[in-house]
Symmetry: C2
Subunit: 424 residues, 2 copies
């Protein structure tokens, strides 16, 4: 296929998506929820064909020498399909964002004013690895009244094709257009390029994936995009921290699931608590298999798992059993370190001092600030959003976990009795 | 100055703006309101120096042969300065958006969750013509807790320099950094280019101006931007419309101020009311000096001010005493015409049929939909936002008139007692 053919194919898919979008946009909540429940049922009852397709993806990945951790992300089984179905049912149970009156007023001249939530229209999602994103994204997008263009990874193409076939057939059976949920070609990277420049055809593109994908999208997109997911998260242990609490939060933030964006990558320790906290923290991190990239103060405490930190460590998103560690002079120094090195995802403080907690919460500029809680809670499901479409680390439109309201826009309605505006 | 020098200058200004932003971000509402009132007072008491600078801009514009309508947009006088001061005082009287709890909950595990409004940080505004935007934008940005980088037109450079000198000196007198309100170089178009690519230094850029400026910004920006202001607004006269009401709304929407983005550019008339409505409408439009670019049905009614419509007329944003006019078969045909040609700004229906009004309001996809009201109400001041920073015609982050909340982001706060997340 030539580049122009692919471009035409993507733009044609977007045009069909735009036409299909009228279905979910005008559907009642009851119709959308019935669709989501039927999708869940059908994914379970047709799991054999999805799993067969997934087996071929897994076999091909193994043949290509893909690391087993990535193969595991790709792999589906009955439990994971049940998880997708459960996600769809959870989303069906959430309030319908469409039609919500966000603000409303009657103006001095009697004109009635309402700002109401409306669907975005056509939502594009670019993602890697895990095929469960296919069901999560489709369910959230449709419940929020949108059509969705999915662009998964080439490694999951057979799985995603099977999943979208099921979801799309259910959509048709429920009176929606087949194009409501579409999978774009997954092999050519140019698909992404064509999607993010389909201005006027696509309303938003959300890239989920590594820093490389996200910055390419941001550089080249003419369609509005939402930056997601790069997390250089910090745990700051205040002078006043309860040491047991700090250890529990640090270990959970680092080791619960090191490969996800809400895991901690740096621990900052107030110098007044360092002598008490660091020996225990380094020992517990060692037991958990974590390598600590420490500054000189941390190195001075020592331990078999401590290596010297270099400048790059303060900016690293390891996504592995590594953590950078630094002793800071003060709370403001911790805030300044985070300002300089944080990625605006999640920053945690462990403290017993109410002034420190207020200051940290007010001055740290991030999608989420956790006070005496693990960074691992920054997650759509944890926040009660059902599945999530990604975690925005930008400040516009959506910040933090993105659920249903984040997949909508708003519209102003004015109702008059022939009102005209005086003056010129 | 070389291109690199200008780039360094813009980026340096952005860095200083970022440092200055801590001031308004952490200021109390009382401090911000006191600042805005002092700015208003000082603009009035130092109006002589502002007006003197403006006289030089006006003289230069006349010398350069600028059309008198544009010179008028540039010109300041005591009334217009009083208007700026009044805008600042209105904004001071509005609730502080910063700190508002947008959503809040206690999760099943006892973790307390709050989504709170926070400033964006550094806001860049690119605008043309009218120097009053300088005061409006500065007031709104600072009240919403931001620092602001202003890039006005070169024709208003002396006026804007004088205005920013006053505003910035007042900021310093109130304990804010001088860099809180900065004017960027206005002569070189490359300033805009450097501003919209200062990723990581600037949080948002809002272009206010013509379609050319806006599309250049959208194409080249790596900083998030908000598209504003292109308005191809329609007035649809339903079969059931009250003819007097329809005439009043059409004339107001078209002629109140033809040069602004919320003025009507096309009137769509249901065929069942065309015979009654069109002769009176064409006559009234003729009296108001409006040229009508009509389809064949409109031409058949005739009139000295009717010219044949060509395809381009349906997409034209005239911003003049011109209007396109078309007879449509049905309400769905009107909605389809708007879907194809509208710019997503403001669309009005005149109707007495509640079903038509509901259908139009639900199916027309625009920043604002007016039912039996003039398109001219789509305006921040009319909507009770004080001054406005522009009217967004995009769907992300802000849609319609942008006031204080639209100049903020949000942050999630979690408060725990040592909460960690189970599972892996």
């Amino acid at each position: 296929m030539t580049g122009d053919d692919l471009r035409d194919q993507v733009r044609d898919a977007a045009r069909r998506s735009r036409r299909a979008a009228a279905g979910p946009a005008q559907a009642t909540r009851a119709d959308k929820d019935a669709l989501l429940h039927a999708m869940a049922d059908e994914l379970v009852s047709r799991s054999a064909e999805v799993l067969a397709a997934n087996e071929r993806d897994v076999a091909a990945a193994r043949e290509a020498g893909t690391p087993e951790a990535l193969v595991d992300r790709l792999r589906l089984d009955a439990d994971r399909i049940a998880g997708m179905a459960g996600g769809l049912r959870t989303v069906a149970g959430l309030p319908d964002p469409v039609g919500e009156v966000v603000r409303g007023d009657v103006l001095a001249n009697g004109l009635q004013l309402q700002q109401v939530r409306v669907p975005l229209g056509v939502v594009g999602i670019v993602y890697e690895g895990r095929p469960n994103v296919t069901a999560d994204a489709a369910g959230l997008a449709v419940k929020a009244g949108n059509a969705v263009l999915l662009r998964g990874s080439s490694s999951a193409e057979r799985s995603n094709t099977a999943l979208v076939a099921v979801l799309s057939e259910v959509a048709v059976a429920h009176g929606f257009a087949a194009d409501t949920i579409q999978l774009l070609p997954c092999h050519d990277r140019a698909t992404v390029q064509h999607l993010i420049t389909a201005r006027g055809l696509v309303d938003i593109v959300i890239p989920r994936g590594g820093a490389g994908l996200i910055s390419a999208v941001v550089e080249q997109a003419t369609v509005p995009t939402i930056e997601t997911g790069v997390g250089n998260c910090h745990v700051y242990v205040d002078a006043s921290a309860d040491v047991d609490t700090a250890l529990r939060i640090l270990l959970n933030s680092k080791t619960r699931r090191p490969s996800v964006c809400n895991s901690a990558e740096t621990v900052l320790v107030h110098r007044d608590i360092a002598a008490e906290f660091l020996p225990r923290a380094l020992a517990e991190l060692a037991s958990a298999g974590v390598t600590v990239h420490g500054d000189e103060s941390v190195q001075a405490v020592g331990g078999s798992n401590v290596v010297p930190a270099v400048d790059e460590d303060w900016d690293a998103e390891y996504l592995s059993l590594d953590i950078a560690a630094r002793v800071v002079e003060s709370l403001p120094a911790a805030i300044e370190h985070i300002r300089e090195h944080g990625s605006g995802h999640t920053e945690a403080i462990v403290t017993t001092d109410v002034r420190s907690s207020r200051r940290f919460a007010a001055q740290v500029d991030a999608a989420a600030v956790a006070v005496n809680a693990s960074t691992a809670f920054t997650d759509g499901a944890e926040f009660g959003m059902g599945a999530e479409i990604g975690i925005s680390t930008q400040k516009l439109h959506a910040r933090g976990p993105m659920g249903l309201p984040e997949l909508t826009s708003t519209k102003w309605l004015t109702f008059g009795d022939g009102h005209v505006r005086p003056g010129s």
